[in-house]
Symmetry: C2
Subunit: 350 residues, 2 copies
């Protein structure tokens, strides 16, 4: 549907910490790949400043209103990591911008591919992105000084839409198996619903094999060389998706190498799956930060907006540079390549 | 304190599926190691039948009353896996006996060591064992057909006691570092409390380094060869502990090799961390089931009741048989060794 637009506006949100540095490299790569389209006015890049932790703290909002308004003028977004404050930090009351953006733009699907051909790994995780323990944010209850409660929310439509997306993806990409991951033996009400609804959706795809596993043993199965190859498409509630995709990304070179698509009906946002690494900035090492994650997110963005051939060239280059020639992965240390050098290298391979 | 008793009663709960087969082998190993103590009447073994899924379903209780009463006559327990029914099973309404036993006996600490010397791994997980998403079991809410809610409960005393145990363990075993694992950036109320209370307890142990990580990135760090060696003692809320210990056990040969101590003020129970594998029984393969997990649980039991030297001999034998001579690990297939052969082999090494 993007190709039907007169113009595709790609909003670029630098974020915090190393975000601006690595996002700039990803943008440079995309701009080169889209040079003709930019010249023809078909594609424009738009910088969205102001989604920084300082601004968010000042506004007392996870995403300041003006930033959110600007975001909504774009057709698709490329986003660097934003700082989610830790307990005890000076910004501890600022909510996660990641989580807020997913909610505000109703980006219900977090799609995270992890591919390591030489390990036989080709996983696509469909992480539900708005419910579970993320739904109520900081609205838990402190019943007394000694008793705290959080709420885990799962809905039928929320589960149905992520399951549908995963099965459609499996069908359209000739995948043989979809795996549902829950802890329905213990967390019976919500995971029970999640599992039930996924299985119901599965009924519409009789040619696809379905299995379900508990999240605890799944973390072991990803490591098991004899078994991990059997997984193709996985559907998970929000938090299990968060956990399992970090583990999965490790096989590909770490969270620094993994991109992620946050998809909704109206908006889509592509981002790194790692944090903003403020310490690297403090120590002046942000030029050495690895832009691989955001470049990969950029490749996913290209594919999403209909430039599949350009996306494929970028994916192939990334695979060569990060996996086959792993020495060129940025180390974050001054003896490694800079982010710009890495981006140049990627561009030289395209 | 066990050594002060006139007699130590070790209750043996076979459980379901492969449970009776593997527990029998573990008991045989312990009986041989404790032969003198048994002869002198210092130690007795007591078989606790009746904690089967059939009986539990008939009683409509996770643990039938008479079984629970018998359990409470023992000083310490060795337990095989019990079946936790899956959604849709004929027994789907029977609650997990594991979870129920932990609650009924107030076994607040689930201690799970994972040791793989040649990988530089020597982790001891302290999993809180009664709270979190486990506290309310199936008492979640179906607000409507489409909206399900579960409750995550964390208390100050519940966190304090697991943290205290972990730090005491660290202190008494010359560990340099304790790592707290939460998702306090998102699950702010309950994980925030867990993190706060752990850090407060840490204040009493100024010589021990403390760090905290989020559960998502922890699953990646365990895989990272350059980083995993830095972890020694870990404290986790119930569900994260469930998840991370299955992953960790994989490095040791899988959940089939890992034992676990469930400790309370009054009772203690030692068990396998894996399931009951009913399919192996149906196919008549239970004699090939790997008793390693329950034997390791038995070694932990020996250490706990004060037979440290016997425990060490058993741990050493297990390490040799499961890691150094991995071929002898039971495969569950008729071409592998039987559980009895494995137990014989262990005994021959002691
Ligand atoms: C930063 C954090 C809030 C976020 C999450 O938990 O979703 C991150 O871990 C991710 O996976 O995108
Ligand atoms: C069987 C199940 C209820 C149990 C749990 O989730 O605690 C198991 O996975 C474990 O780790 O002991």
């Amino acid at each position: 549907r993007y190709q039907d637009l007169d113009q595709i506006i790609i909003g670029v949100i630098g974020g915090d910490g190393i975000g601006p540095a690595i996002t700039a490299q990803a943008r440079r790569v995309l701009e080169q790949l889209l040079a003709d389209e930019i010249k023809a006015g078909k594609v424009v890049f738009k910088t969205i400043d102001g989604c920084t932790i300082e601004n968010r703290a000042a506004a007392g909002k996870a995403i300041p209103d003006d930033v959110l308004a600007e975001i909504k003028t774009c057709n698709v977004l490329l986003k660097g990591p934003t700082t989610t404050p830790r307990k005890g930090d000076k910004w501890a009351n600022v909510e996660s911008a990641n989580v807020a953006m997913r909610k505000e733009l109703d980006l219900f699907a977090n799609v995270r591919p992890v591919k390591v051909p030489e390990l036989g790994i080709d996983w696509t995780f469909f992480r539900e992105n708005t419910e579970c323990l993320y739904a109520m944010g900081s609205q838990g209850l402190n019943i007394s000084d000694d008793l705290a409660i959080d709420f885990r929310v799962i809905t039928t439509p929320g589960t149905e839409r992520i399951a549908r997306l995963a099965f459609e993806y499996a069908k359209n990409n000739n995948k043989k198996r979809v795996t549902i991951v829950t802890k329905a033996n213990v967390v019976k009400t919500t995971d029970g619903k999640f599992l039930d609804v996924c299985k119901q959706v599965a009924g519409d795809y009789p040619d696809i094999e379905v299995d379900d596993w508990y999240i605890d043993i799944m973390t072991a199965k990803l490591i098991d060389e004899k078994r991990r190859g059997q997984f193709e498409v996985l559907i998970l509630p929000n938090l299990y998706g968060d956990i399992l995709t970090d583990e999965a990304a490790e096989f590909q070179g770490g969270v620094g190498t993994a991109g992620s698509a946050n998809l909704g009906k109206q908006y889509s946002m592509f981002e790194a799956i790692h944090g903003s690494a403020p310490r690297m900035v403090e120590e002046g090492r942000d030029i050495y930060a690895d832009p691989c994650s955001v470049i990969r997110a950029g490749a996913m963005l290209l594919s999403h907006i209909g430039y599949q051939e350009k996306a494929d060239r970028l994916f192939t280059a990334l695979e060569e540079c990060t996996i086959k020639e792993r020495k060129l992965v940025i180390t974050g240390r001054p003896d490694g390549a800079t982010g710009a050098e890495f981006a140049d290298y990627i561009l030289s391979k395209i």
